[in-house]
Symmetry: C4
Subunit: 204 residues, 4 copies
Amino acid sequence: METGRLETFSDGVFAIAATLLILSVGSNLSWTSDAQLRHELAQAWPSYVAYVVSFMTIGIIWANHHTVMNQIARADRTFLMLTVGFLMVVAFIPFPTRLVQVYIHTPNAAAATVAYGITLTLTAVMFNALWFYAARGGRLLREDADERTVRGISKTFRFGPWIYLVVTLVAVKAPAAGAIGFLLFALFWVIESSVFGRSDPASI
Amino acid sequence: METGRLETFSDGVFAIAATLLILSVGSNLSWTSDAQLRHELAQAWPSYVAYVVSFMTIGIIWANHHTVMNQIARADRTFLMLTVGFLMVVAFIPFPTRLVQVYIHTPNAAAATVAYGITLTLTAVMFNALWFYAARGGRLLREDADERTVRGISKTFRFGPWIYLVVTLVAVKAPAAGAIGFLLFALFWVIESSVFGRSDPASI
Amino acid sequence: METGRLETFSDGVFAIAATLLILSVGSNLSWTSDAQLRHELAQAWPSYVAYVVSFMTIGIIWANHHTVMNQIARADRTFLMLTVGFLMVVAFIPFPTRLVQVYIHTPNAAAATVAYGITLTLTAVMFNALWFYAARGGRLLREDADERTVRGISKTFRFGPWIYLVVTLVAVKAPAAGAIGFLLFALFWVIESSVFGRSDPASI
Amino acid sequence: METGRLETFSDGVFAIAATLLILSVGSNLSWTSDAQLRHELAQAWPSYVAYVVSFMTIGIIWANHHTVMNQIARADRTFLMLTVGFLMVVAFIPFPTRLVQVYIHTPNAAAATVAYGITLTLTAVMFNALWFYAARGGRLLREDADERTVRGISKTFRFGPWIYLVVTLVAVKAPAAGAIGFLLFALFWVIESSVFGRSDPASI
């Protein structure tokens, strides 16, 4: 099977999941006519930060998925089903994002941040499953797959789940630190790939 | 008519319907500031299961639609309208999913599960209508359609509606058993196509 | 400008507008734990009918847009902006659909049905503007545009706004009759194009 | 990296962000069974105007993004990340649109309109970042990029953020004037590009 339609479907889910994030920005506003809107909008800053972190995270996943698919020549049914499972976890991200937006300033912050962290950890796990299923023994790779890129992906991907897991464990005790961890990790990715990746042709 | 734009539109509806499922996860949460969030999130497990079953079901429909379209060379207006009808039922799935999420633990579980089952039965019926309209006498098939795949699709598709109907009838009396039935059927498809379908080149 | 990306964007809006319709199915349900769900689901039948009519209407618009774009070779900025205006009205359809779903059984049925009719009338007007801008003097048509199809589109499109306008005027006095009118018109289109259009190669 | 999948993803976000705008039309309605629907629908006109302005604005951004991408041959990771950032701001537009729809007739009109203006200003800033990163020294431009178009884009884009900033500052003191400003600027773009751009082949 060609991977074209697989990418269309995946891009659709990435784009929708990212765009749906906006629906929960403003969950903290009262939406009443006697609101102190200016004050409420200022207070709602964690809502915007959570939007930015989740949007960036999905954007990075999309960019990485692109890098991965560039090395892959064909798909089989197992790969198709792994992709569906992977997209299922990505499409789940708006829910814990909303939890964080609503609860970050309450005693429930830990539960919300941990739910967020578990979702991101699972996303990284599924992305690994997808990749290593395709790459093991070159099963679905292109004939002319760039070996350096393939090894680069394998090396980087392995760390993902562990980093998310560690930040999630931090969030159990210190939800604010956990939230900052997710923000920093997304920022790191953006900066790493846009500044350092720029000079490295293999990173695309 | 070429089938390219038909696939783009279909993939769009599949991707959106699947991604919209997330909007109703959390329907059972109180979203109040004094919530026992950790407890509520644990209690909401049927909500996640329903999300997974519906997402997987739409994912399988998407993968099968892909297999079907691979055998089809062109579309006429009847096929176009059958596709619209088919997508209409697929896009309906988020509604009964939400019913199940909200009502599975209440005396209304039967009504919710039956509504879910009727929707999936109709989806299977419309998918059959689509396929047999295209396949009858090779009407819209490719010149070089793989005969084994064509017969394989015809054989498998015929069962779909009946299985969903039976599980729906079970759900009338035993909603929990019905819900488990829908889960098992989705799991069966995922495992069947990813494990057994792997070695069978015709299954893609 | 090539029309490829124009079609992708249009197909995206059509697919999303159609799929978003599901969000308002169930507006009439109480969603409380002591609901008489079976009874409520039966009572909500106008909600399903409205979903079907709007989904079919958007599906027909999509199919017709496809037919139209098949005759068009290129786009200019005016055509681009007319397309944006056209999509803006199509994407508006979920709002009056929800009005009809919520108010069809109340004294507000007329206002809801008229709002629905105005939206569909505007959609037909914008579709005409789009088509006649492209077709006048063959401005954006393909060199080898099928003359019979071009004349067929022009002839059919001209009627659209007037029919929707008449049904809308009926809805002012008799909302139920208006609603049935919109249903019949959508059905007419589906049947006309799938049964009669089948034997007519020019209709695609 | 080819820009094809970048455009698919961008078009997806544009289409979804524009179509989601419909969800907040009707925020001002009471949705109760004893509503004076006709009266409420008439009163809600700012809601429709805000929908039109935001939809047109996203439509113009989409058309301009198309013009820009036509001059660009390839993408690197920095460009990818800038695109994600740009789309993040575009996908944010539905939120301040809803603020304006809900609060334009209240003492909170200034806060809502300013939030709207800041979002549009940021959109224009990000669009500039995207463009000038690609165009500086011809970094990502096509070999045969049309020099006149490139200079035209650079000249026009530079003004965008400043105009939005000025209108936003107006909105601080006079929210209604600000809202009219955003409407006029969108109208100006539509008319400018569809009337004047028509005779100018370089504008596409």
